[in-house]
Symmetry: C2
Subunit: 387 residues, 2 copies
Amino acid sequence: MQNFTYSIPTTILFGRGQIQNLGAQMRALGSRVLLCYGGSIKKSGLYQQVLEQLQQAGIAVTELAGIEPNPRIESVKRGVELCRAGDIQAVLAVGGGSVIDCAKVVAAGVSYPGDTWDIVLDATKIVHVLPVASVLTLAATGSEMDCGAVITNLQTHEKLGTHHPDMRPKFSVLDPTYTYTVSKWQTACGTADIMSHILESYFTGVQGAFVQARFCEGLLRSCIHYGPIALAQPDDYEARANLMWTSSLAINNLLSYGAEVAWSVHAMEHELSAFYDITHGAGLAILTPTWMEHVLRSGRADALAVYGTEVWGIDRDLPQADIARMAIDNTRRFFKEDLGLPGTLGEVGIDGSRLEEMAHKAAPLLATGTFVPLRYEDILAIYRASL
Amino acid sequence: MQNFTYSIPTTILFGRGQIQNLGAQMRALGSRVLLCYGGSIKKSGLYQQVLEQLQQAGIAVTELAGIEPNPRIESVKRGVELCRAGDIQAVLAVGGGSVIDCAKVVAAGVSYPGDTWDIVLDATKIVHVLPVASVLTLAATGSEMDCGAVITNLQTHEKLGTHHPDMRPKFSVLDPTYTYTVSKWQTACGTADIMSHILESYFTGVQGAFVQARFCEGLLRSCIHYGPIALAQPDDYEARANLMWTSSLAINNLLSYGAEVAWSVHAMEHELSAFYDITHGAGLAILTPTWMEHVLRSGRADALAVYGTEVWGIDRDLPQADIARMAIDNTRRFFKEDLGLPGTLGEVGIDGSRLEEMAHKAAPLLATGTFVPLRYEDILAIYRASL
């Protein structure tokens, strides 16, 4: 196990009706708040509830509305200007990961004098972050409890992550009932995203990270168990609750502390989303099994076999290579059949024309520290095998 | 899953050499510090390292030495007086759970005007707690990351827990190498204590706490895997590291949030320690399998069977009752044969003479909310079956 400094100070208000604590919690962070959201919370009625809570707490609200999926740097810049103009003290995101990510970089951008895109390209330029909080409406990115944010620049075809300890939300409201109305597609993509976060930590070269590995397996099993239930029965509270709590624990550093590894599939997927604006979780579901085949070819059947027995319950007495093969097949089948996600790039409208370009962009981000090496030609082969 | 408010703000400095950060971390909490310890840190050399760190950081140190296992209220009172006399700003515990527990109640007692035993009997009387930090030398109680403390009053034969959110340490240094010199006996007792903490959360009546249950199983497997390794090879870093991190995660609320249940075995064991001053972990190892037999008699073979398949890898295709029986046998055998702990009360010098008295004391503490009911006669039967 590696040395680590554990610090996860986010307060999580989990469960039905926790919105009633929003006003008091938010007031402790500031009396002038930027409220960030996409569009759906106006339809669901959550917008009104949030506004009432903030108003009852005597908070002056400025709104940044219309934040898009794969949030754009233009939205972030709009938020930064609003914060400066309104002397905003804290930022509240109400929505899924895109809204929260946007809110985080707004909060970090206010005190940065240069072009806000700079702090996405180089997180070390972040000097001060306004307090951030969230009300979560989608179990997926884990942004509600982590330090990271992913922002898209469509002009430069870049989708990049930035992070800072102070971007971790001070508190997040996690009410599983808010996800009852999440579409089947978004539920499936969210579940694939959660699973990918876990897998990125699980496949580590660090020896002796036993506790972390067992936690990864538990959370993967939560996704495998409850993902299909949430699809079949969108208002199953336990399914939505476990998926939501799993989304937060998957990426809040609990799994990675002591077992740090450079991520593999996310960087490859971010190129797909940056070039084609596809849904992140769908891209992950397509690339993950193909990446696992690369892991197998790279001689790590051992790690895939542990994954197979502990997560999928495959018989330990089978030959290691068979278990590894079955684990990959189970993963592909789960994404495609149980979650109903696309299995190939062709199904999301991506052809072979720009694979080299994307592989060139991804390669430098994957140059060191991944579980198995991912050179340009490996990445290109994974893209091609995913067509 | 139940509603919960997650808040675990303790910073953990984990790994070899983390003591080098002690001075700076402590200085942020205060410049006049009460240093609490037992005796062993003077032998190991840790005392000198700690003192150097504090002195280099310009901290004035007052010492509370000689804190005993099953810490006594008299030691707490001595610490409270020292804090008042020295206008102490923060409390640093260097040791195992007994030292940390004592330090916590000292920190809570300073501002309490009445008899300090009052705040053990009634945690709601705690109004203000000095900041607490710890350097851990024993993987067992989890006090380094939780809100609780257990204090013994030998005059009244009471060993009782108290808790307050502000008693959770601000930071704890967890260097697994400090546990290399822990004796086989203490290593075994610590492992049993950790396992009991996990089991107390694992056997819950709350439905749908899937994530919590899988985490419990992962941590139990860590104890089962690494406990015997640490006994056989006391300086095995990965064994000591996993046991240490498991001790903290077992009881820091991660497992209990959303799955709250009143604990069973701890309250029964506390009577043994209060009457006979035996080592807590040994008492837990004796009572746990006997309590599980009571669980089985109470009709909860289902829960024991999940425990059996997921923790002990027992074949799922066997009849439920057989799996449950085997799970209990495995538990008893593990404590006795793999950890070398006593299997009966007789082995720790407890005879049948005071069982009724202890059962009378334990019964009110177990009156509501336990996994299966524990009336006076149930407790007495468990004690008797453990003789």
